[in-house]
Point group: C2
Chain length 266, copies 2
């Protein structure tokens, strides 16, 4: 746990490990700055169901607990620091901080993925791709990239493991508040492009259509008032749609200069 190499390897540095064999779990204790009483919890938190030697438990139970602990801790934090915020806005703010992408970023940033024990053929490549993609979006992509779910799972299972080991929400929060920085705030939270575009068009009474050209070109096209304003592609259709919406938002001023005017009553 105290080795220089583990500390170096676990924070900062390159985002994605080049090797497929997981590092010794001691390194995780250094990342967390927490020493487990029961090391089996730590082992469980980093074991995927695809990796099962010697009746080793996988992380799902701890992930289940960690999800609930994290949900509560973020709720508490945001409730007390936003005394006038509506429940709807609180819900969106919480979701932005506990969604798959946000947690997968936490995993990559702190090198959790190096410790994952799994036997999934293409996972290493997906993690590498995700590590590269997030460089384009410093805080959150808002649905423009696909995060490997297992990365979010091991952050939740580690939260669950620290909680099960310490039985203290205060210890969990002390550790994970720091690891999750920067938390997304009201000021930094953005809408998904799909949501933003849909709301804009509704407000301005403009007809919005998504043309599905997935079969032919793997593209989704955005038409506003029958004009082609944006398009997007990705290997997941929902993300392609979101990228098309983002592209349309970027092009909107050129096509519809009146978009920048205040909304007129209809």
């Amino acid at each position: 746990m105290e080795g220089e190499e583990q500390r170096d390897g676990s924070r900062g540095g390159e985002a994605v490990n080049g090797s497929d064999s997981p590092a010794s779990l001691d390194g995780i204790e250094a990342i967390l700055n927490y020493e487990f009483r029961d090391k089996r919890l730590l082992e469980e938190a980093f074991t995927d169901a695809s990796y099962s030697p010697e009746n080793c438990s996988s992380f799902e139970r701890l992930e289940y607990v960690g999800d609930s602990v994290l949900n509560f801790l973020i709720t508490r934090e945001q409730y007390f620091s936003n005394p006038n915020l509506s429940p709807g806005s609180l819900t969106r703010l919480r979701a932005a901080n506990v969604d798959t992408e946000k947690l997968a970023r936490v995993a990559i940033t702190h090198g959790f993925h190096r410790y994952l024990r799994h036997n999934k053929a293409d996972l290493h490549q997906k993690i590498e791709e995700f590590g590269r993609s997030i460089e384009e979006y410093p805080l959150h992509s808002n649905g423009m990239i696909k995060a490997p779910k297992v990365l979010a799972d091991i952050v939740e299972s580690t939260i669950g493991a620290v909680f099960a080991d310490s039985n203290s929400i205060d210890i969990v929060w002390k550790i994970f508040k720091e690891l999750m920085e920067p938390l997304i705030t009201l000021k930094t939270m953005k809408k998904h492009p799909m949501t933003e575009l849909t709301e804009m068009c509704q407000k301005r009474n403009l007809k919005l259509e998504f043309r599905d050209r997935w079969q032919e070109t793997k593209e989704i096209e955005v038409l506003i008032e029958k004009q082609l304003v944006g398009k997007g592609s990705y290997r997941k259709k929902l993300i392609a749609q979101n990228r098309a919406a983002k592209n349309a938002l970027d092009n909107l001023d050129a096509f519809f200069p009146q978009f920048n005017q205040p909304c007129q009553p209809m």
Copy 2:
């Protein structure tokens, strides 16, 4: 808070208050056996949005917090007391203890509804009806009756209020573990009749159909292998469907005696 009348009125006794005007909130402190430092939280927890004199806040923010606190507390309790239970079973067990009906029962049992400030015309009648219906199902109806959501909301908002006032999950749990008794356990948890019937028919390879006669008779009929085996009615269609499934389950032995045999490989 110490008055004999409030204590008598708040526990046991008749389930539903005959009057529409809410009782003094001091009574709630007696039910909870907890004295609020900030009485405004207590007021907020029992104020519906339909009741808004003098800029009084309504319960939604506290309900949002209480939902998360309760989810965490039940998760913790069940995780530690069921060391080998799968996450899927843990999810179902938690859901059974925090769903609208379970929490609405808590509200009625302890008289929370007497303190609700609202201006909803038909709420009193719905609460009375619910109070009568639960007598038929001592623990949980599993989807056979409709619970007024506001009753569950005020249990969550009260949990949120105690948490916001005390900032202690241990105080919340000490109070609400008792108020929520009997908690539903693995032994006492039952499936919804719809789920049970569907699974039974799938296992035995029997053709199951629901015939929608809502328009004509407000009834849903269950046909198994084209025989009419059960029917159900209710003012909500989903509940009528569930009641029809229950009726079919009750009649199953008479129609298909082989249902009691062990499942044969197909």
